[in-house]
């Protein structure tokens, strides 16, 4: 290869003075001759001797990057981030299985700052990529425009990326070439074209899918719709849980199941009594084996927080505790994975999905045919009044138990509102949800601090010997933590009254009344 050729390509793009790039994305194979035909007097010469390299398409499970219009690919040990109308970013490191905050600093890592902290990068697709440099030559064989073509293929499709590079003094030709590419059929400025070409029909994961509801739709159909949808959401998380990609898979799995369970328990009288009891048992059984794993995940995610809570000389005991948690998590994971991969589990999930596909296999209860809107209003109004009744009675002397109950009722209210949201005015909903979320955050922290104390005590008693003695280091660390957590729980509790008063404003009251109760007057 001559030196003439060596100087072309990637590194040139970065160093050339005044270099600016245009990007074109095609969901198909590119036809260079079509470009050449649009450029009379010029020839397009594409480098021939290149080899296809395997690439991985990275994103997190919910495809945050794709939703943002970005594409992150890993080739060899380097990451490239593609964005609309931006120079592709490059960083020498691998990303698969890693969290953004754990990547070494670099331009890709910097651009991905806002990527969800709890989500790991995972391979959501793969294929082969052939990078070819090309030049647009005039009749003197002088280079007037340079570019790079990426021909990408996967087992399900192909796509092309074209990067154009301006050369000083050849602006007019550049414009012509740019137009020639832009005029190619299917040529797009959005990265989405690459996804569409390479992975047509790739399923996007959504933790909260939109569920279409009709105002007069029978409540049993609404319940079936919601349960069917969240069963599928839960199932989409199974492989990520087994592969242990990040903790959000298990979390989303549990949230989906909890939603299903709350439909079963909150939609009273929609299913027959027998079936309600049966379903409650079935879903409780599915969820139960995940509880300990989630607890451990939460402790481990909060590890730094725990270490910051107590002085450094107590850290060794804490470290011992976290080492135990880590190894226990390993055991839990293999137990859970075995379960998820078992034939029995697959059969029962398949059976459940069939059960809730339509209402043919469901036993209707007395409320089964009630119209969704009417039923929603009644449920939400009832739950709202219950929340208010508990909350208004809370004083500094109220037992913790009552505060816990308030938390649970707020959660039920929130779920009900979210399930039926499509039936109501979105603006009013937003106004109510904001102070409700704040109250829930408050109650959530109160609960976390209390659960954590219990868990720490349980841990210590489990670690103690027959005489009830524990390792001094562990005892000191746990004692210190409990003292701090108890303080926090108390101060969080004192905030509950204020948060509720904020939620209980005259505007919110009116909104609740007008949204869910007015028609009865």
């Amino acid at each position: 290869m001559s030196e003439h050729k060596k100087t072309r390509g990637g590194s040139t793009a970065r160093r050339m003075p005044g270099a600016f790039e245009d990007l074109f994305f095609l969901p198909s194979v590119m036809d260079t001759s079509a470009v050449e035909a649009a450029l009379p007097g010029f020839s397009v010469v594409v480098e021939q001797d290149s080899e296809a390299k395997p690439f991985s398409l990275l994103d997190c499970h919910d495809q945050s990057l794709r939703a943002k219009g970005w594409m992150l690919i890993e080739i060899g040990d380097a990451l490239q981030l593609l964005q609309k109308e931006q120079r592709p970013l490059f960083q020498n490191c691998s990303g698969k299985g890693r969290f953004i905050q754990d990547l070494p600093s670099g331009e890709v890592q910097a651009a991905l700052r806002d990527f969800p902290k709890l989500r790991a990068l995972m391979q959501i697709g793969a294929g082969k990529l052939e990078e070819k440099n090309f030049v647009v030559l005039d009749e003197l064989q002088k280079t007037q425009v340079r570019g790079v073509i990426w021909s990408m293929t996967s087992t399900s499709g192909q796509a092309t990326l074209v990067r154009l590079q301006r050369l000083r003094g050849y602006e007019r030709t550049y414009q012509k070439v740019s137009t020639a590419f832009a005029d190619l059929p299917d040529c797009a400025k959005d990265v989405e074209a690459l996804y569409a070409g390479l992975f047509p029909g790739m399923e996007t994961y959504r933790a909260k899918p939109d569920i279409q509801l009709g105002r007069a739709e029978p409540s049993i159909e609404v319940a079936a719709d919601i349960i069917h949808t969240y069963l599928k959401v839960a199932r989409q998380n199974e492989s990520g849980m087994v592969a242990d990609i990040d903790t959000e898979f298990l979390h989303d799995y549990r949230v989906s199941l909890r939603k299903i369970r709350s439909v079963i328990s909150l939609f009273k009288g929609v299913f027959s009594e027998d079936q309600t009891v049966e379903l409650k048992r079935v879903f409780s059984d599915i969820m139960a084996p995940t509880g300990r794993m989630r607890d451990l995940d939460v402790y481990l995610l909060e590890k730094d927080m725990y270490f910051n809570l107590i002085p450094e000389h107590l850290h060794s005991g804490l470290q011992a505790m976290f080492d135990r948690f880590q190894s226990e998590r390993g055991q839990e994971l293999s137990r859970l994975s075995r379960r998820l991969r078992s034939k029995a589990y697959a059969t029962s999930m398949k059976h459940l999905i069939e059960t809730f596909d339509g209402i043919g296999q469901l036993q209707p209860g007395p409320n089964a045919d009630r119209g969704a809107y009417d039923y929603a209003c009644a449920l939400i109004w009832k739950r709202y009044r219950k929340v208010c009744k508990i909350a208004r009675g809370i004083t500094d002397d109220t037992p913790d138990e009552t505060v816990h109950n308030l938390r649970i009722d707020c959660k039920k209210l929130r779920y009900l509102m979210e399930f039926f949201a499509p039936l109501f005015d979105a603006k009013g909903f937003k106004l109510i949800l904001k102070p409700l979320k704040k109250l829930q955050d408050n109650l959530g922290l109160f609960n976390d601090y209390s659960v954590q104390q219990e868990a720490l005590l349980a841990f210590v008693s489990q670690q103690s010997n027959t005489q009830g003695r524990v390792d001094a280091q562990v005892g000191l660390a746990v004692g210190g933590l409990i003292a701090v957590l108890d303080q926090r729980q108390k101060s969080e509790r004192s905030r509950v009254i204020a948060s509720f008063q904020h939620f209980d404003s005259p505007e919110t009251r009116n909104l609740f009344r007008s949204l869910f109760h007015d028609k009865e007057e």
Partner: protein
């Protein structure tokens, strides 16, 4: 920024070939280079397949910085741009002083266009005039190709005398023997006597007379792109090394 003038008060000594190959060598070494084709007979633009800019013959050219920067053309090589200009003497003067002056609009325009050149190489017209004096003042280094013949010896003497008379810094003069034919006794003898006469003026590197250099006209590209292992290519690389790093290669 360093200004290197490629100059000869005698024609046909391989000045343009030197400009083109040196500019290419600097760019290959990772520098941002602007090669200014100032010689109306010269053809450094031709060697890079860059067509001369019609706009630049305009008298008002240097009053219009934007048009100047727009006339700059990227070559086919990374970091190497060409200014294909046939400038009038007056314009050339202004050009030199503005390239030198950091605060001039020309300099600022170049910087803002992302091209703060490390090296500006001037392929100069072969004249002896006030113009030349300005080149000698403005340039950091003046590379002078000298064919080892009696006639060239005389013109080089004139050049050195000119420097003396005008109290110019002779240190800037970096002469080298060009189009050397080793088999010619005359060449050998002239080289020996001139090195003796001007021990500090001559670089050690000598560029041979080579068909590969003449072929630049056919290839319209620097020698190293089509004859990377030729003696000519090696010589130009050595010339660059000696100029830039003071390294004398043993050929």
């Amino acid at each position: 920024m360093k200004i290197i003038a490629c100059y000869s008060n005698k024609g046909g000594v391989g000045k343009t070939a030197t400009s083109v190959n040196l500019a290419h060598a600097y760019a290959q070494a990772g520098k941002q280079v602007l090669l200014c084709d100032l010689d109306p007979q010269g053809a450094s633009g031709f060697y890079f397949r860059v067509k001369p800019s019609k706009k630049l013959t305009d008298a008002r050219f240097f009053e219009d910085v934007e048009r100047f920067t727009k006339a700059i053309r990227a070559s086919d090589f990374e970091g190497l741009d060409v200014l294909p200009a046939n400038l009038t003497f007056r314009d050339f003067d202004v050009f030199l002083s503005r390239m030198r002056n950091k605060r001039s609009r020309l300099k600022k325009a170049l910087v803002s266009a992302g091209s703060d050149y490390d090296v500006v190489l001037l392929d100069c017209p072969p004249n002896f005039s006030t113009l030349s004096e300005n080149i000698f003042k403005a340039a950091d280094e003046i590379v002078v190709p000298v064919i080892p013949t009696t006639l060239s010896e005389r013109t080089f003497d004139q050049l050195v005398r000119f420097f003396d008379e005008h109290k110019l810094r002779k240190k800037k003069l970096r002469a080298f023997f060009s189009m050397v034919q080793k088999r010619k006794v005359l060449h050998q003898e002239t080289m020996a006597s001139m090195r003796k006469l001007y021990p500090k003026r001559f670089l050690q590197t000598a560029v041979p007379f080579a068909a590969d250099i003449e072929k630049m006209g056919q290839h319209r590209a620097p020698v190293s792109t089509y004859a990377g292992r030729s003696a000519a290519c090696v010589a130009y690389r050595a010339l660059f090394d000696e100029l830039e790093n003071g390294v004398v290669s043993t050929q």
